[in-house]
């Protein structure tokens, strides 16, 4: 380092050296030394600050990007960056492009700290604040564009959301006032695109950002509030909204369940309008002692029968049907008791249930909540599953036909799919016989994608199975053999599967799978994947596999990433369930086509999960080939 000593000196050659080193990829080495030194020197010394600014300004344009990027990444804080770079971003066009466009909109790999540095730097000086506003507008444009939401990867969307929140945290009242209208418009459009998406992560991102924008523009009055589960990502996002020293988490949303005070305690407060309050209450017992005798004359009767009144649920299935369809609106207690008791009654009386199975299924599908029972949705679903497993073929026929009928709500159609999956799981698993296990129980608050958790669970299970297959472990007899039962799903798998796959391309007036209702299509595809997976060892599995391959082929270019993930899960299930020999003899050509499609997906699909699933499928195919080559023909 050199001392100016009152002389004019040019440091442009140092800038050249710096630039050249950075462009050759040695940013880390040189800036590791340079940045801390400059930080110290510029702390209080204005001259050094000017020198530093001159240094970066003189870097030739072709190397500016590398230098600026390096500085932004290395600087320990926004204020330091401000001291080091000065108003470079205003004076130099290239630097402006890098800072306001490239790092925010074209790249998305930088950490939150880097974002904080960058945006903090922009906010620290009034000349740069105009850039901050412009940056915010562009970020919001991207955030609210529906094509960006559909086609850009989740990581990029997270990055943009973080950037938006940090910008918002830096804005002052006046600035918010001036762009309030634009903020509002972008928020409305953006929230719509985000909620439209089928992926829960994107929905949550949209909700958090929309809430934050609403909070900023409506300082008094009602703000937008969504209901969602908080995870670490969300908490981190929310903490960005407040510019305080790090690790200060904004208090989370108020709990929806406020604990209610228990009822019966009686407040001992006499309220008197005119007279002064008398002292507290309870009269001593001594007074009654004197009159003890006369009370003892009255001998109490036996009161052991005085218990809590319990409404008896009906004991016969047909009685249940009468109560549930009955028009007697007064007997709500009985209706509640019936709903609670229905599942166990159905399981205990399979013969009686089989006589009225379709009627019961119809009643349950249309059953609406008459009174407020806890867990009504789950009770209804369990009863439906019980009916379906007791009499699978007619009830499956009914339910699958209703899936494609007019005048059902999306919720009801998705209910049908959920019930089919749960029943299939029960029928195909020997150890769950008799006791239903629930993956994906409904939670009480209204979520936008209820039950999508079940598809995640299944993905995990499928992944585990794939892992176990690729590693080829011989586990030996380490586990006790489970009692074997005939596979009840064998005779009915086809009845569950084929009717669902039949009419997907035939739109009805109220239901268009290939059009607006892509959410249901996504759920349908995931359901088919699960049914395929559960059909392992059944007779119909090959036919199901072929039909599924055709179905996947028809939909492979669908724009919704949730649907694509489902399609790839279908392929995984197919490869796992259909016996290898059958795949290679009956489906060779289709498989080859599928393989090339999977390769394409793996390289070019914007969604990370799709790429991962495609890779897994290709690995499974490889294993299949190897396995068959290993077997001597």
């Amino acid at each position: 380092c050199f001392i100016p000593g009152g002389l004019d000196c040019s440091i442009s050659f140092v800038s050249h050296v710096l630039g050249k080193v950075c462009i050759h990829g040695r940013q880390k080495e040189i800036l590791e030394v340079l940045v801390p030194r400059l930080t110290d020197l510029t702390k209080s010394d204005c001259i050094w600050q000017r020198i530093c600014w001159r240094l970066v300004e003189c870097v030739p344009d072709r190397w500016v990007e590398a230098v600026v990027l390096g500085f932004v990444q290395r600087a320990p804080g926004a204020d330091v960056l401000s001291r080091l770079l000065g108003n470079l971003v205003v004076k130099n066009k290239k630097a402006q492009f890098v800072v306001t466009q490239k790092m925010l909109l074209l790249q998305y790999g930088h950490t939150t700290a880097v974002l904080q540095n960058l945006l903090g730097y922009l906010s620290l000086e009034s000349l740069r604040r105009t850039l901050l506003l412009r940056v915010l507008q562009e970020l919001l444009e991207t955030w609210s564009s529906s094509s960006a939401v559909k086609h850009s990867p989740a990581e990029q969307q997270l990055y943009i959301s973080k950037a938006i929140l940090i910008c918002l945290s830096h804005l002052k009242e006046l600035e918010i006032e001036s762009c309030r209208q634009e903020l509002l418009t972008s928020m409305m459009e953006g929230v719509k695109c985000h909620l439209d998406s089928s992926l829960p992560q994107l929905q949550r991102l949209g909700m958090v950002v929309a809430e934050s924008i609403s909070l900023k523009i409506n300082t008094e009055g009602p703000v937008l509030k969504f209901e969602y589960e908080e995870d670490d990502e969300i908490r981190e996002l929310k903490s960005l909204l407040v510019q305080t020293p790090p690790f200060c988490v904004v208090p989370s949303l108020p709990d929806d369940d406020r604990s209610e005070k228990a009822g019966a305690s009686v407040p001992l407060v006499p309220e008197s309008n005119e007279k002064p309050h008398t002292a507290a209450p309870v009269m001593p017992d001594e007074e009654s002692d004197a009159e003890l005798d006369s009370d003892d004359d009255l001998i109490p009767y036996d009161m052991s029968g005085d218990k809590e009144l319990k409404i008896k649920a009906p004991v016969y299935i047909r009685d249940c049907i009468e109560v549930l369809t009955g028009s007697r609106s007064e007997d709500v207690d009985k209706w509640e008791a019936t709903v609670k008791a229905l599942e166990s009654l159905v399981r205990k009386n399979p013969a009686a249930t089989r006589e009225v199975s379709v009627e019961l299924a119809k009643i349950l599908l249309h059953l609406e909540e008459k009174t407020c029972i806890e867990g009504f949705v789950e009770l209804r679903q369990r009863a439906q599953v019980a009916v379906l497993t007791t009499d699978p073929i007619p009830v499956a026929k009914y339910l699958t036909s209703q899936f494609y009928s007019l005048n059902y709500s999306l919720r009801q159609r998705m209910d049908i799919l959920d019930v089919l999956v749960l029943a299939a799981q029960e029928l195909s698993c020997p150890k769950f016989h008799g006791k239903t296990k629930h993956s994906g129980a409904q939670k009480p608050c209204i979520q936008l994608l209820p039950g999508s958790d079940s598809s995640k669970d299944w993905r995990r299970i499928v992944d585990e199975r794939i892992k176990s297959k690729t590693r080829r472990f011989d586990m030996g007899q380490s586990r006790v053999e489970l009692a074997s039962r005939p596979n009840e799903f064998n005779s009915v798998a086809g009845h569950f599967f084929f009717p669902l796959i039949q009419h997907f391309d035939r739109p009805l007036t109220t239901f268009d799978l290939l059009g607006e209702d892509h959410l249901v299509l996504g759920r349908l595809v995931h359901t088919l994947a699960i049914l395929m997976y559960l059909a392992v060892n059944t007779v119909a599995v090959t036919a199901m596999g072929k039909a599924l391959l055709e179905f996947v082929w028809a939909l492979r270019f669908h724009t919704d990433s949730y649907v694509r993930q489902g399609l790839l899960s279908c392929i995984s299930s197919l490869l796992l369930s259909v016996p290898a020999e059958r795949i290679l003899t009956d489906m060779t050509e289709e498989l080859l086509e599928t393989q090339s499609w999977l390769g394409d997906v793996m390289e070019k699909d914007p969604d990370g999960d799709c790429r991962r699933l495609a890779l897994q499928n290709l690995l499974l195919m490889e294993n299949l080939k190897k396995k068959l080559e290993a077997v001597p023909s």
Partner: protein, 328 residues
């Protein structure tokens, strides 16, 4: 070894509608037939002959709207009935007549039963809920002049009056009104001045029914929750909670204290009638006969203590009569 509870002495059937109110008329100077008046949901008032256990007369005066309260005014010949057709009717039943001599249009659409108090020979005070939702009107009968209107202060938010009881400590003293409201509080009103003397919040739910023992200055109230609340009135005319008692099942429709102040009966939504000792609220019996909500209970006014009865009317259209603790 406690005895099992007794069975009803007899059961009256034939109202063909839920029974909402009962009133005995068995005392009186002249030996006459003991009568029980019952008001039903179909608007009929049945006069039951307690010797034959049959209906002597059926009075139809409320346009098929439910009858919610029946009182006699000095003997069995003059009857007052309140119905949900917003009318209170005065009947003349002497010598076999069944005519409505007078009626008061209350304009009240709620369920609050009126309360009657004899203040002088031939003069009664009647408290009833008025048209405006929070007010109670006091009328003098038979002149039907308004004595006062008891309006809670603005912002008190008491809700509708649910049950009323007019009483006076002895003849000649000031009549006072106890009113139970929808917010669970009981208010003591001074009728002549029209002002509230004391307010006590006894329940978290609306007060369904209350009764008061003027000798001991103690009262009891029941609500739609599981708690019975006993409160007392001290010398400064302030209400204070004395005791609470928790029941097994929630909901009380009616409470009444026997005229000799020894026991009280409650009518429950769980189809059961409960008997308690009044002194210490000791539970004495649970009478489980009815198959639907018991709407009302009433003690008879027989002059011979041995003949005393307790009657209960229920939604299952039956009136059960019990002879319980009649010997004491």
């Amino acid at each position: 070894m406690a005895l099992p509870p007794p069975d009803p002495q007899f059961v009256l059937r034939g109202t063909s509608a839920a029974v909402h109110t009962l009133h005995f008329s068995c005392g009186g100077p002249e030996p006459g037939i003991p009568l029980l008046f019952s008001g039903s949901e179909n608007g009929f008032i049945h006069v039951w002959n307690l010797k034959t256990h049959r209906v002597d007369t059926a009075l139809d005066g409320h346009g098929r709207k439910s009858v919610c309260c029946i009182e006699t005014m000095g003997g069995k010949d003059r009857l007052l009935s309140q119905g949900r057709d917003q009318r209170i009717c005065l009947w003349d039943l002497a010598e076999g007549r069944t005519s409505v001599t007078d009626s008061v249009f209350t304009e009240h659409v709620g369920f609050c039963r009126c309360s009657l108090l004899k203040v002088a020979q031939g003069r009664w005070l009647m408290a009833m809920a008025a048209r405006s939702l929070e007010e109670v009107q006091i009328l003098e009968l038979p002149s039907k002049t308004s004595v006062c209107t008891l309006k809670p202060e603005a912002g008190a938010k008491l809700g509708m009056p649910m049950c009323l009881k007019l009483w006076q400590l002895n003849c000649g003293s000031q009549p006072v009104l106890l009113a139970g409201y929808e917010d669970g509080s009981v208010v003591l009103w001074n009728v002549s001045m029209g002002k509230a003397l004391s307010r006590l919040i006894c329940h978290q739910e609306p007060v369904m029914s209350l009764d008061f023992d003027s000798e001991k200055a103690k009262g009891i109230s029941g609500s739609s929750e599981k708690v019975l609340s006993i409160w007392s009135l001290n010398e400064q005319q302030n209400l204070q909670v004395y005791k609470t008692h928790e029941l097994v099942n929630a909901g009380i429709s009616d409470i009444t204290i026997r005229p000799d102040k020894k026991i009280l009966a409650t009518a429950g939504w769980d189809h059961r009638i409960r008997i308690f000792g009044w002194k210490k609220l000791k539970p004495l019996a649970v009478l489980d006969y009815h198959t639907a909500t018991v709407h009302c209970v009433s003690f008879s006014d027989h002059s011979n203590p041995q003949e005393r009865l307790l009657a209960a009317g229920s939604k299952d259209q039956r009136i059960s009569a019990w002879s319980i603790y009649a010997q004491t």
